[in-house]
């Protein structure tokens, strides 16, 4: 049965909650026929089942609707995934990410120093965009300014607008049909300037390694020096990782920071609670992730003809695991439509904003630290924060959040 659910409809983006609720109730396995047949799964228990069954529901054709993998982590299953994950994990352990808190605090303090006297502006542009970009630049050994210039292109890879995505999906579908999976995979788009810049940086790092110089303790060093079972990574593989980490690590955390502040501005009672109880910072970040998952959902692909929720699903069909909807399923959550920063933390952290199972977001500890520090410093340094206009919703169908967030606050000189 085809549903009238339209992932590409701007109306869907504007207010996802009621759409999710209706889908969970009326059509938990919703069929979409544009640009080709795919399904959206919205109930928590079904999302969980799909995410944990990576043998049946592969990531090899990519996490998006377009059938193309980037070739790293999100787009591979074991055994390649195991190799990739171990590799990145060395420079990306939860402990090492958490250890960045003081550095991140300093960064956000500095950024706020730069604009706080303005008293007003677009919160996204001022804070939510630059923080994650600069942090990921640190990890990759890249120049934050250059990376910032590349931002639009990175966004367009994870989140092209609906029409671009449809067109891309159509092309990919045609390629898969005519040339098979490998061909489609190798066409994964990446801009030339980005590739050249990354290549230059890798070459410099390789030279340092060859000369036995002391190297920065970052993810790039881990990638360049990595050896597992006697194998090292090629430039192409390293670029794949860098591109992936750049995309996965920037736009998503930007949305998290923006969503959280926007939701607090809409719920002044919750804002007051958090302001007066620093113990609630962590819970506030988790509740924001639950209530407004920055990534609506990601896709898995059936490895063979199969059946799910009584629906026959042909091999290679994409199924969207709707994280944002699982996060609001009344079967799992009490009073799910209430934004409540006092929820039980232990239960709350099991939301699906970072996925679940083997592809669980590696950067989750980093995103959590960035959001928590941003929250703390915004509350401390931007008093009387208020909305001054209507935020603009982000147009990318995969992401959930705002593009702009016009705010004002009381600058230090005013007091």
């Amino acid at each position: 049965m085809a549903s009238d659910f339209d992932f590409f409809d701007p109306e869907f983006q504007k207010d996802v909650h009621p759409h999710f609720a209706r889908m969970r109730e009326e059509c938990p396995m919703a069929k979409v026929e544009e640009p080709f047949d795919w399904y959206a799964v919205t109930r928590e228990k079904d999302v969980r089942a799909l995410l944990h069954d990576w043998k049946q529901w592969t990531s090899e054709l990519g996490p998006g609707l377009a059938r193309s993998g980037g070739g790293v982590l999100v787009s591979v299953d074991p055994p390649e995934h195991t190799f990739d994950r171990r590799l990145v994990n060395r420079a990306f352990t939860p402990a090492s990410l958490l250890a960045m808190e003081p550095q991140i605090t300093e960064l956000i303090e500095e950024i706020i120093d730069g604009f706080v006297e303005q008293g007003e502006g677009d919160f996204m542009e001022l804070l939510a965009v630059p923080v994650p970009l600069i942090v990921i630049a640190w990890l990759l050994g890249l120049d934050p300014d250059l990376l910032q210039q590349m931002r639009p292109r990175a966004d367009s890879v994870i989140a092209p607008n609906a029409l671009e995505q449809e067109e891309m999906a159509r092309q990919m579908a045609a390629e898969v049909e005519s040339e098979g999976r490998d061909a489609a995979r190798s066409t994964a788009s990446r801009s030339m300037s980005e590739v050249q810049y990354f290549l230059g940086t890798i070459a410099e790092r390789r030279a340092m390694h060859a000369a036995n110089e002391e190297m920065p303790q970052d993810t790039l060093t881990a990638l360049v020096t990595a050896e597992l079972n006697g194998r090292t990574l090629t430039d192409d593989e390293i670029i794949g990782f860098m591109g992936f980490l750049f995309i996965a690590g920037s736009a998503t955390t930007t949305q998290l920071i923006g969503n959280m502040i926007y939701r607090l501005l809409q719920n002044p009672d919750q804002m007051e609670l958090v302001k007066n109880n620093p113990d609630l910072y962590d819970t506030c970040v988790e509740e924001s992730l639950r209530y407004d998952a920055p990534v609506n959902g990601l896709f898995r692909t059936a490895v063979e003809d199969t059946e799910f929720l009584g629906v026959q699903v042909p091999k290679d069909t994409k199924v969207l695991c709707m994280f944002g909807s699982a996060n609001l399923d009344p079967e799992m959550w009490e009073d799910p439509e209430k934004f409540d920063v006092t929820r039980d933390y232990e239960k709350l952290k099991l939301h699906y904003a970072f996925g679940q199972g083997i592809h669980y977001c590696m950067g989750a500890p980093l995103a959590r630290v960035e959001a928590k520090v941003a929250l703390k410093l915004v509350l401390e340094r931007m008093p009387n924060l208020r909305l001054t206009g209507e935020p603009e919703e982000i147009s990318a169908p995969v992401l959930h959040g705002v593009e702009t967030l016009p705010v004002a606050w009381d600058p230090p000189s005013a007091s």
């Binding site: 944990h52 171990r86 939860p94 083997i358 669980y360 977001c361």
Partner: protein, 68 residues
């Protein structure tokens, strides 16, 4: 003797442990991890340590077990 412990309070159900080291960790029907080998033998300690290092929640640990 060392005992392998998963702290449910910290666990994020990422499934990394049972996926990386299925001989040492399993999952229950709700996908919570379960320690399959409570007291890992010498050759299993490395496997356990691998999962401990990879756990995104840092919820696994090897502790000294007084009983052993």
């Amino acid at each position: 003797m060392q005992k392998l412990v998963i702290e449910r309070r910290l666990c994020l159900k990422s499934g990394q442990c049972s996926y990386l080291q299925p001989d040492v960790f399993q999952r229950d029907e709700e996908n919570w991890p379960v320690v399959a080998v409570e007291h890992p033998k010498e050759e299993q300690v490395d496997l356990a340590n691998d999962a401990i290092e990879m756990c995104p929640a840092q919820a696994i640990s090897l502790v000294e077990d007084g009983e052993g």
